[in-house]
């Protein structure tokens, strides 16, 4: 085999020519004599840090020989970049000989080998500094003295103090070869210092090396240097002096993009032993080195990874925003969806992000800017499937704000332009509710009746239809609608609440029928749980069911009292408590407990007189609300603007500044919403007040009369 032949000759020369100069048990072999001073990436045994210069997978084959064939050396090495900062490499050096035993001065077998495998790693610590290390394994067979596989390591550091168009690219490296050796490693420990320069638009390169060889033995200095000039991008000429003192002429040529080989280079160095410092009778010497680069460059690999990451980035940003939305962190989700819209305008879900940006703002009660988002969405994504949803949200906000004209406008757009969209039935429901709120029973009925049983709004629509029918005095029809609500299996708390409301409403319908269906009504009232918003109403109605039949069975008074007590116990702030005391007073009167009956009726009058809220309280609370929310429009606008700005430090600072104002307004709105609930109850209370006062006055007179006479009385008339 050719390799073996050259290697054998090299070994023979080494043994015969350098026997006296070199110690065979500590050879200088695998220094920079032949290949290293080419200063290329794969010369990692000179300085392991060198390999980080490779920006692409590189394979190199090098061969040294003499024309007379008396010496030779070969190696193959490869370098593989990983990411931006890491590079690994491997080299195999072939060197060996099968020497005729009769001509050998050595005893034993005729085989001598010293092959080596290097595994290297380079790490770019900073962009101006690289560290590297090798592990080298020798296959050492010294004429049968015993085959061993000793290990050694090289370490190196490489500095790149400057790199620019004016000064070129400079590398300064220092390395310690065979720094740590296992016993029997058989190569010298050397220190190498190298300076490489590449400049003038990569047209000139030069290299100087200084080494201290055999640091642990007889330390020797050695120099090497070389330079080459590119006549064109493809062809270079140069010269070098190896550290063994051979002046060499150098020729190289390269080509790019040759099928799978992205870059190919051939270098040829020639010299003659006769002109060297120490003529070793080798005649004409030559080195040849072939370099091939394959696969993607570091730039392309990095680019591909970055591209893959960036392709995913919008989706990840969208999902993160959606997570915030589902966690009901609406301010954060508004900002996050806004970022998706602005940062990734071509992202396929940009329209959806815009929609949820609006929903986030809407959920915070920022209706003005939510409407802006929806209107902008309609303009920017006019072909999107989300356009009808944008219109629906505008309808929904108009409904919430009782802006009936705007609600009608948006509904008309959906009903005419997007009648087959999935928001059409939602729009029908909301508009049906809007009509109901306006007292337009016919229009409301028309829309709500169109909602099918499969629709999520069906139950709600049936409830409102029940109310429409009740309002119109069509109790049989109302009964059917409320029953339709109750026959459905509730899927969430909202539907459960709806059923509780429907149970109470249906109970009232049954109570009002002629003749009344009190048992069935009572059954509905008593199924309303104590944590329901309709519990007090249901309990009071249940009490009235008993009162209505108490004439036939006095024991029913006790049952009525129990339900009244349930209100006081579970809903002590209920506006129905005065009416409860009225029922209680009747019960006491029926038992001739006239004293307590008087107290109960007086309590009713007292509570009716006092009311729940005074005018001053209402005014004060309303004023406080208006003061606290006076800047609501400004704050909304700021939030909207900030949601369309990408989160720089400056923007984040601004968001932090506006946050307390958002919280303040939200708290004020929440408080006022609760207060409005109380005010609504107050209105109902005021409505019932006249009737209750009249009943209480009459009942109190009866009770007082009873008390004065102190005679047993019958069941009071009411």
């Amino acid at each position: 085999m050719k390799t073996t032949r050259y290697a054998a000759l090299a070994a023979a020369i080494l043994f015969s020519g350098n026997a006296q100069a070199l110690n065979y048990t500590k050879t200088r072999y695998q220094q920079t004599d032949y290949f290293g001073d080419f200063g290329t990436n794969t010369a990692s045994f000179i300085n392991p840090g060198n390999i980080t210069d490779a920006d692409q997978t590189e394979v190199m084959f090098g061969m040294y020989s003499t024309v007379n064939g008396k010496a030779g050396l070969e190696y193959v090495s490869g370098v593989f970049p990983i990411g931006y900062d890491h590079t690994i490499g491997a080299s195999v050096f072939i060197n060996g000989a099968s020497v005729d035993q009769t001509s050998s001065t050595q005893a034993g077998s005729g085989t001598w080998r010293k092959d080596a495998i290097l595994l290297g790693y380079g790490y770019r610590v900073f962009h101006w500094m690289t560290l590297g290390a090798n592990i080298q394994v020798l296959n050492f067979n010294n004429f049968g003295d015993g085959k061993t596989y000793p290990i050694a390591t090289d370490v190196g550091v490489l500095f790149n103090p400057f790199q620019d168009s004016k000064t070129g690219f400079l590398k300064v490296g220092a390395a310690l070869q065979n720094a740590f050796q296992q016993q029997g490693f058989d190569n010298t420990m050397n220190a190498n210092l190298g300076v490489d320069w590449l400049g003038l638009d990569r047209s000139v390169e030069g290299r100087v090396e200084f080494s201290m060889l055999d640091l642990q033995g007889q330390a020797q200095k050695a120099w090497a240097m070389g330079a080459r000039y590119f006549l064109s991008p493809n062809v270079a000429l140069g010269g070098k002096i190896t550290r063994e003192g051979f002046p060499m002429l150098s020729f190289s040529g390269n080509a790019q993009r040759l099928a799978v080989v992205r870059y190919f280079e051939i270098e040829l160095d020639i010299s003659h032993d006769g002109i060297s410092w120490s003529d070793e009778k080798r005649g004409l010497l030559w080195n040849v080195k072939l370099t091939g680069r394959f696969g993607p460059t570091r730039e392309e690999v990095q680019g591909s990874k970055r591209y893959t990451r960036l392709i995913r980035e919008p989706e990840e940003a969208f999902q993160a925003a959606m997570k915030l939305y589902l966690q009901r962190r609406f301010l954060e989700s508004a900002y996050s969806f806004g970022r998706v819209v602005v940062k990734y305008p071509t992202y396929r879900k940009a329209d959806i992000a815009s929609y949820y940006q609006g929903k986030s703002l809407e959920n915070m009660g920022m209706h003005d800017v939510a409407k802006k988002v929806y209107q902008t969405g309609i303009q920017n994504y006019d072909a999107s499937a989300y356009v009808p949803k944008f219109y629906f949200q505008l309808l929904n906000i108009a409904y919430k704000e009782s802006n009936w004209a705007e609600a009608q406008t948006n509904y008309n757009i959906i009903a005419t332009q997007y009648k087959s969209s999935d928001v059409k039935s939602d729009a029908d429901y909301v508009m049906g509710q809007a009509y109901f709120a306006q007292g337009k029973n016919t229009e409301s009925r028309q829309l709500l009746e169109s909602i099918s049983k499969d629709d999520a709004n069906y139950g709600y629509a049936q409830y409102t239809l029940g109310q429409v029918a009740t309002r119109e005095g069509k109790l049989d029809e109302a009964q059917q609608h409320f029953e339709a609500v109750l026959t459905r299996q509730p899927r969430n708390k909202s539907e459960k609440d709806l059923q509780e409301a429907a149970a109470v409403r249906l109970g009232h319908v049954l109570y009002s029928l002629t003749p009344p269906q009190l048992t069935k009504a009572l059954s509905l009232y008593t199924q309303v749980p104590s944590n329901s918003a309709y519990y007090d109403e249901a309990q009071l109605a249940a009490a009235w069911c008993f009162v209505r039949n108490a004439g036939t069975n006095p024991k029913f008074w006790e049952d009525a009292n129990k339900h009244i007590d349930n209100i006081s116990k579970n809903v002590p702030t209920s506006i129905l408590i005065p009416e409860g005391f009225l029922v209680k007073g009747y019960s006491q009167l029926s038992r001739k407990d006239c004293g307590n009956a008087v107290k109960s009726f007086q309590m009713v009058q007292q509570m009716l007189g006092k009311g729940f809220l005074t005018e001053e309280e209402i005014k004060k609370k309303t004023d406080e609300y208006h003061t606290a929310t006076a800047d609501s429009s400004d704050v909304q606008e700021k939030v909207y603007q900030l949601s369309l700005q990408l989160p720089s430090d400056r923007v984040l600072d601004k968001r932090a500044v506006v946050k307390p104002n958002i919280d303040r307004i939200a708290l004020a709105k929440e408080d006022f919403f609760k207060f409005q609930d109380i005010m609504n109850k107050q209105k109902k209370f005021e409505k019932d007040k006249v009737r209750l006062d009249k009943d209480a006055t009459y009942a109190l007179a009866t009770a007082k009369n009873c008390l004065e006479k102190s005679t047993p009385g019958g069941t009071p008339e009411f």
């Binding site: 620019d164 991008p233 790019q256 680019g303 591209y307 602005v342 369309l644 990408l646």
Partner: protein, 333 residues
Amino acid sequence: MKHSVSLGFALGLAVLTSAVYAKTIVVPTQAPTIREAFRQVDYGDTIFVKSGVYNENVKLNQGVVLAGENPNTTIIDGGRRGPTVLGEAQGEIFGFTIRNGIDGILCENTTPKIHDNIIMDNHGAGIGAYISQPHIKNNVIFGNRWSGILLYGVNAQNVWIENNVIVRNGYSGVSALGPGRVNLRNNIMVGNHEYGLFVDQEMDVRSNNNNIWHNYYPFNQYAKVNKTNLSLDPLFNSPSPFSLNLYCQKESPMLGRGEGKVDIGLYNGASVPDQSPSSSSYSSPSVTTPAPASVAPAVETPSPSATTSGGGGDSPADPGKVKSKSKSKKSTK
């Protein structure tokens, strides 16, 4: 869905209300560093940077203009720490030398405007644009270790890469990879160590009126290089990095040969009218006060001619006349 640029425009308008009150922060007078200046500005504001070397890595802000006093003397040095400048949506940068970063300007999923800069000696790409729509105009992109402009997954249908001079970069002058579409016009790509223009199979690159000359290879098979493109010696004033002036001499065949009859390469007069709806015009930078002395990226800027052509004064009435004076080759196909 409507075109994204119009969306950006609409959003831009939405947040531009503050632009009415736009302010200018001067570095280092009002802020010691560019980064600090960014902490003081809002959408629509301008940061004006006086001449000097700023050892910083800068991230543009949305809707903020970063303006250098003079591209030759206002230098942002990335210190090999990452991208010298990181692009941001609707950000704008001009009037700087941007050097010594890993990438000169890195754009990820963003839409900045980059014009009238010298982007040189970075250790990766001069400009790296990923899934972005950068408007890259009238820059010198010189001596970067990797590609001059790397476009990865860029889909910029209404955005042009134009009038840039892309010289002596380590790989290709312009490298367009991944799926997308890019429009190149009136650029000069010279002396790059791989291709002048490299396009991979998935990318659709329209190349009009570019001059691709003396690169290792001019362009590869997937580049759509039509007959409007040239391969002529552009006759730079001085391509040497020691006295870099990549404006063309007055004999240059680049003058008046670009699309729209403007110059190929750096212009010092009129350019092709800006078609980006998100920009008013590059010829009137949005800096108001104080106005930079010049945004022209050359040391020795010749006096602009009265005509639309730049560099050398008299515009050749017939572009064909200058051919004989240059060492030009025939146009590339």
